[in-house]
């Protein structure tokens, strides 16, 4: 090891072991056809899905391809603004960069007729009353605030309708009536 001599004025000063150097990077993200089409209609308060050409599965938000088969999905359909909770988390941890009152409920929302869910906020519901299978509807931002962003829906709130049974809620819904298919 090389001996390093430091000025006597630094005698007894604790050696620096690390420094924090925050860095920042800006990205320009270009959405593909599926995301673009979705966002354009989302700004008109319409929710689009795509249909898998392989087995008719409905993917919301739209994806350019069905990841199970690598199949191009270019058939769009308009979805209702109601659905149910596939599962959820009652979160007591703040999200970096976003202010939400704690605790908040993040839930996998399965729109009626959709075969995959998306993660979103549930409110107007005490955490202890939130359930897998609970029916929910979208609460939109005021019209003047709606634009081409993923955040046009403020949150989802309970509709008060009867729950979807656990066995048919969320991803399990895909298998209802297809019990002979065991591939998942």
């Amino acid at each position: 090891m090389t001996e390093i001599s430091v000025p006597s004025s630094l005698d007894g000063v604790e050696p620096v072991q690390s420094v924090r150097t925050p860095i920042r990077m800006e990205y320009t993200f270009t959405p593909g056809v599926a995301a673009q089409t979705y966002l354009r209609e989302f700004a008109n308060k319409k929710i689009l899905g795509v249909v898998s050409p392989v087995d008719g599965a409905v993917l919301v938000p739209p994806r350019g391809a069905d990841s199970r088969h690598g199949a191009l999905c270019d058939e769009f359909i308009e979805m209702p603004h109601t659905g149910h909770i596939g599962s959820f988390c009652v979160t007591n941890v703040p999200i970096p960069g976003r202010e939400l009152d704690l605790p908040y409920i993040s839930a996998w929302i399965f729109l009626d007729g959709a075969d995959i869910g998306f993660l979103n906020l549930v409110a107007e519901c005490p955490p202890e009353e939130c359930r897998i299978g609970m029916r929910v509807e979208a609460v939109w931002k005021p019209d003047e605030e709606i634009g081409m962003t993923a955040e046009n829906i403020l949150y989802w709130k309970p509709t008060g309708e009867p729950d979807i049974p656990f066995e048919a809620a969320g991803v399990r819904g895909w298998h209802v009536g297809k019990e002979d298919q065991t591939n998942a």
């Binding site: 860095i23 599962s87 970096p96 993040s106 995959i116 993660l119 993923a150 969320g170």
Partner: protein, 390 residues
């Protein structure tokens, strides 16, 4: 049967002490510490190594782009083949399997494999909560992602609410037997685990893994080299699988890729009854409930019965017939990229009889397991005290 090709064995294992901040070493110093210990254990010098295979979690967890490049000198890679493996949280396991494959294939005789994470130089919680373009930012870290999956397991099995706390308490007890473990909490009581705050309900604070600095390394050699070693851990089987994280009908609790990976593994190892034939398991359990969930997925019990194994004490080192995570597991040390390799390395230590105070007496076959991403990447191996039967 077997992994095919040349036999391979682990003859050197090295780990660092795991802690919240290893401020005394740089990242190169950290990986070198583990690698040096693995070489010493193997009775080798840097020059004896033919190739180096490294793995860590995604670069943005530490904010260092392609760190394998700047770590090459510290790991003696200059002039040698060097590979980096990327499979999210399962990476430590798949890195070991890639290293093993270089030996199974006959390409190399002596391969060094290293995995690490220096979480103190980063913020993985932030990295896992990055706002994605055109998506609602709602997910708070890995706990926020896995909580809804655990909730489905609990509802489907109607498991008692405190099973997760039992796992967490057990692993923290095991950690006291492992001097390298990050969390040493000798005064922790079961009630304290139960009373710890809910972070991502149903996941409590004490049911989550810590954020650790650390590295693990192994030396994997061919049969000719392993025959010279005193107590090699022979690789009986190794398997990897992956799947997308969101598709229609995906079983999130018990992913198809996990089941198929385990099936492949047991077939290779000639194991028909894992519960009976495996002596000790090092399983990737970053959130307590994943122990019963993986016990089921890996075939150690019937679906829906994993929590019963936990409740019966079967997975405890004291008195259990299937001890799980005797090292304290991910719940006691989580240098993310290294966590999978620690599982694989601990399995090797067990069959070599070198696990110290957390040694399972007479262990002859052990399983190492890792998973990553949204429970979508899987890496597993079986190591044994005895050579695999051809």
């Amino acid at each position: 049967m077997g992994t095919g090709g040349e036999l391979a064995a682990v003859v050197g294992v090295g780990m660092t002490k795991f802690s919240a901040t290893r401020g005394d070493v740089s990242m190169p110093g950290l990986v070198r510490e583990a690698a040096q210990r693995a070489l010493e254990d193997a009775g080798m010098q840097w020059d004896d190594i033919d190739a180096v295979v490294m793995g860590k979690a995604p670069d943005f967890f530490e904010g260092v782009m392609m760190p394998e490049i700047f770590l090459s000198e510290a790991l003696g890679c200059v002039g040698k083949p060097m590979l980096r493996v990327h499979t999210a949280g399962s990476v430590g396991g798949s890195t070991a399997l890639v290293a093993a494959s270089l030996v199974h294939s006959g390409v190399h005789k002596r391969v060094l494999t290293v995995a690490w994470e220096k979480q103190s130089e980063s913020n993985a919680m932030w990295a896992l909560s990055l706002k994605q373009p055109f998506q609602v930012s709602i997910n708070a870290g890995a706990g926020g992602y896995f909580s809804p999956i655990i909730r489905q397991y609990m509802e489907a099995t109607q498991a008692p609410e405190l099973i997760g706390c039992m796992v967490a308490f057990k692993d923290r007890q095991h950690a006291l037997l492992n001097p390298y473990a990050h969390l040493h909490q000798p005064d922790l009581t079961f009630d304290q685990v139960v009373e710890s705050p809910m972070l991502w309900e149903p996941i409590r604070y004490s049911e989550t893994c810590p954020s650790s600095d650390g590295a693990a390394a192994m030396v994997i050699v061919n049969e000719e080299e392993a025959d010279k070693a005193e107590n090699p851990a022979w690789i009986h089987a190794g398997a990897m699988r992956s799947e997308a994280n969101n598709f229609p009908g995906r079983d999130e609790v018990n992913p198809l890729a996990s089941r198929e990976c385990a099936e492949d593994l047991w077939n290779q190892a000639g194991i028909t009854n894992p519960r009976e034939e495996i002596d000790v398991v090092e399983m990737y359990v970053p959130f307590s409930w994943y122990e019963p969930m993986w016990l089921e997925s890996l075939g150690f019990c019937e679906r829906g019965d994993g929590w019963k194994l936990v409740e019966s004490g079967a997975t405890h080192i004291e008195g259990g017939d299937l001890p799980v995570n005797c090292s304290g597991g991910v719940l006691s040390s989580n240098p993310i990229g290294a966590s999978g390799m620690i599982r694989f390395a601990e399995a090797a230590l067990q069959v070599r009889g070198m696990a110290g105070d957390h040694q399972v007496e007479g262990a002859r076959k052990a399983m190492g397991h890792a998973y990553g991403g949204g429970a979508q990447y899987f890496a597993m191996w079986v190591v044994g005290k005895d050579k695999p039967i051809a």
